[in-house]
Amino acid sequence: MAVFVDPFDVLLRLQQALDTYRTSDWLGGGPSGSGSFPPLNAFRKGDDFVLVAEIPGVDRANLDIQVKGNTVRIAGNKMPTYPEKIGLHRRERAFGRFDRALTVPIEIDADKVQASYRDGVLALLLPRAERDKPRKIALS
């Protein structure tokens, strides 16, 4: 039987994996749980952690990301860029300010945090602090 990677299967597997962690309490104990904007997904990538948020339509100049200790703050302003004098037929997009702080249950190396913003998706790479990494204990 031929084995091939179907991109649709990849997507389905990803969606199922994301569903499984809908009720995870990984961030549950932080100062701001779920319920505020922007919604976040948290991933582990090797030793490091990645926070991803969808904020389409936010100009990168209006985005403010701060890291202190193991608390990450994502703030910004989403403004419509519509001309004046328009007739609005349908309005589903939401605009306004957002400010969300969350504490991750790991020690992060704040100096090495990387942020990227592409196609309306903000991704923060939070490298785990060297001293927080698990060490392998050799059996004597």
């Binding site: 990849v10 969606q15 994301l18 976040l40 990538k45 339509g57 605009f95 196609d119």
Partner: protein, 132 residues
């Protein structure tokens, strides 16, 4: 719109109903604004995570169909720990009235937002009638 307005969380809406797919995977309905100016209709759609190459806009008869695909490869090697939203492709279609000039529809993508400009045909644009 007030500048001080706080953005509230909104759950993404999944595509349902007659628009079913034969491929596995979930499709979401992109949040859309539609506004009209004197010379055009503009459709503004949120498709976060979609590269411009993976946006497909087609016009068949009078149905304007938009399909946008995310690239699951971006999530390779990532193991979810905690999730608040689902990711997936986007699909939506609109029925165009005959006041849209179908040959001049244009599209652009910026920061995860697709903007479609549908110019009106000349006859339907407002004119001021001079009084003779």
């Amino acid at each position: 719109m007030s500048d001080a307005q706080q953005l509230a969380l909104r759950e993404k809406q999944e595509v349902s109903g007659k628009d079913e797919k034969t491929v596995p995977g979930r499709f979401y309905v992109p949040a859309t604004d539609i506004y009209e100016t004197d010379d055009a209709l503009t459709v503004v759609m949120e498709i976060p995570g979609v590269d411009r190459q993976h946006v497909n806009v087609s016009l068949e008869n009078s149905t304007l169909r938009i399909e946008a695909r995310i690239d699951p490869a971006n999530y390779e090697g990532m193991e979810p720990l905690y999730t608040e939203y689902g990711v997936g492709n986007y699909a939506r279609s609109f029925e165009l009235s005959n006041k849209v000039d179908r040959d001049r529809i244009s599209a652009e993508v910026a920061d995860g937002v697709l903007t479609l400009t549908l110019p009106k045909v000349k006859e339907t644009q407002p004119r001021s009638i001079p009084i003779g």
